[in-house]
Subunit: 347 residues, 2 copies
DNA sequence: CTGTTAGCGCTTTCAC
DNA sequence: GTGAAAGCGCTAACAG
């Protein structure tokens, strides 16, 4: 690989001059010399060595992003896409993404190591939780990062998040417009920050429409197919005329559990019971019936994150920025009007 | 961040000495000095700067891996997992993965750029095709890489691949053992290297069992749900007693199309028609019926790739290595015995 | 305008 | 055993 020295020698100039044309310090070099250097660079096929540049500039142009360890048979559909578009957005800004892994229960050493070795300039976080130790840690370390997802309201850091509250609010309104009055929600545990926003959207729509939300209409469970099954099974134990005619699931996976269990109970999804999910996971469009769901605007989110990161890395002392990105309701066959009898029964 | 100079000053030694203890050049430094330096390093919290080390050593300890651009609503389930485990295996070997993107139709500039800027030490390729331009390019450039997937047989490079032929062979045998005789296959276009191995596995089992494979039992199509639907629709146009009672799909997505179309034709999958997929995509276990499929041993593959890469990077002049990793058949509800009448009809 | 030079943080030869 | 010093490839004062 040719170095700056080779270019200098070949072009008959000093390495400084080469460096000047490389860095567009046009004022420092005559048009003619510039032309010559450029020609030489082209001819011998020279590209600056990024390691050397980075050493000099004390940066890496690398952004660290941790994969979440995931059980073999479970995948977070959103984060997969997220990683791709993050890399894409980062490249447009002149960065690359360094992906790393860590044990779910003990993420900090991996971050610490990357900071200590000065391997990355910043981190992008995803899948944040309440009291997220990573955020606390990076805040303490005063190391640059931006987060996809919120955490504790009193922690001040840059984040971008899906406006899940609004998204679920709209989905619920959609069900109400279809004529549903008995709408239930399969939610996540109370500790889940994002789960609570989704729940709040449901509650907001129900309240606004003056529809009752009996306590047993909210069932909390893990992020699993099983949790969806159990929720539906529980609702099916209510007296028939109290059965919800529509169900908001906190995620696609939970929605799938609900759909599968509905089938077991002889219910036709989209007719006897309407179901919505959240995420627009890859396969959901091919489910029978195809799942109505709330799509997260991953492309917008990754772009916003990188823009924020550029601000952070420029060290302009702006106060932490926050951005809520709107979702999109993907209407498919899993939702329909309530059966006439069912629709009335709630009144 | 403290540097090696800080350590030297604090410990009252030269930076050379610090470097010696850092690099375990034990012979060069007395036990006592060594102890002192270590203590100082610990005290001031020093970690060597990786950029400086890499500049000196003329390497990056970074492995480039390209995400495949993917239509928004389609995800390659295998490659998502692959990326995670690749990062994991790389870390165990002291490397990190740099993920980058490129337009599907024009991958080379992205690789070229990374090589020229000396951003990475090597590449890992995935999703290889026949005449894969990336392989040809890297071979020409003589740049280190290993590949998940084969390409042209006359190109000599390091690869690891799923033993898809054997996997489909076993799956077909499984269907034969269940009593099926009219087994069809939804395959990929002829240009697909991996598709052809899968097809060969099917043919091998059929031939070995002495079962007929009429030409219309092999339908080729793209990697899409639609392709699966179209294949089944075509088979359904045959006289009823020639309908296949079992279908090997070249991928899960195609299998889903087959299942969905079967439903449209009033066929119950697992009873009237058995279906197998390939990949064990995340959601397939939750389909109704759950999909019998062939799982690729991603963890083994990534580990093997990294091991090979270490050999390549050590520049030991071993001839290119190849490794075929066995698959696992995941038996679920989409396969059953043929209906008695159907089973006979083929004879 | 152009070149000389110091140095980014580290490793390693070579003297002592 | 230890340290001085050269140098990896580059940038940017500074001098001319």
């Amino acid at each position: 690989m040719p170095t700056i020295k080779d270019v200098a020698r070949e072009a008959g100039v000093s390495i400084a001059t080469v460096s000047y044309v490389l860095n567009n310090k046009d004022a420092f070099v005559s048009a003619e010399t510039r032309r010559q250097v450029l020609e030489t660079i082209e001819r011998i096929g020279y590209t600056p060595n990024s390691t050397a540049r980075n050493l000099k500039a004390n940066r890496t142009r690398l952004i660290g992003y941790a994969w979440h360890e995931v059980p073999y048979n479970q995948v977070n559909p959103v984060l997969d896409r997220f990683t791709y578009y993050l890399a894409h957005a980062a490249e447009a800004a002149g960065y690359h993404v360094l992906t790393f892994t860590h044990p779910v229960t003990d993420p900090l050493p991996a971050y610490q190591e990357l900071i200590n070795t000065q391997r990355v300039d910043a981190f992008v976080l995803a899948g944040t939780t309440a009291d997220d130790p990573r955020i606390r840690f990076l805040l303490d370390e005063n190391f640059p990062f931006v987060s996809f997802g919120r955490s504790n309201p009193d922690w001040d850091f840059h984040w971008v998040d899906t406006d899940a509250l609004e998204g679920v609010y709209e989905a619920t309104q959609y069900l109400i417009r279809l004529g549903h009055t008995r709408i239930a929600m399969a939610a996540w545990p109370e500790q889940s920050v994002s789960g609570n926003f989704r729940l709040a959207g449901y509650l907001k729509a129900m309240q606004q429409a003056g529809l009752p939300v009996p306590p047993h209409y909210i069932i909390r469970g893990e992020h699993s197919e099983q949790a969806g099954r159990e929720a539906l099974a529980q609702w099916c134990q209510l007296p028939r005329r109290q059965w919800p005619t529509a169900i908001i699931a906190v995620s696609d996976l939970v929605a799938i559990g609900i759909m599968n269990e509905a089938e077991r109970h002889g219910l036709v999804v989209g007719r006897d019971v309407s179901v919505t999910g959240f995420d627009d996971a890859p396969m959901t469009q091919y489910l029978r019936p195809a799942l109505t769901t709330i799509q997260q605007p991953i492309v917008d989110i990754t772009q916003a994150l990188i823009e924020m990161l550029e601000i952070v890395l420029r060290k302009e002392d702006t106060s932490p920025q926050h951005l809520l990105v709107p979702t999109r309701l993907i209407q498919r066959a899993s939702c329909g009007r309530p059966a006439p009898s069912a629709g009335q029964a709630g009144r």
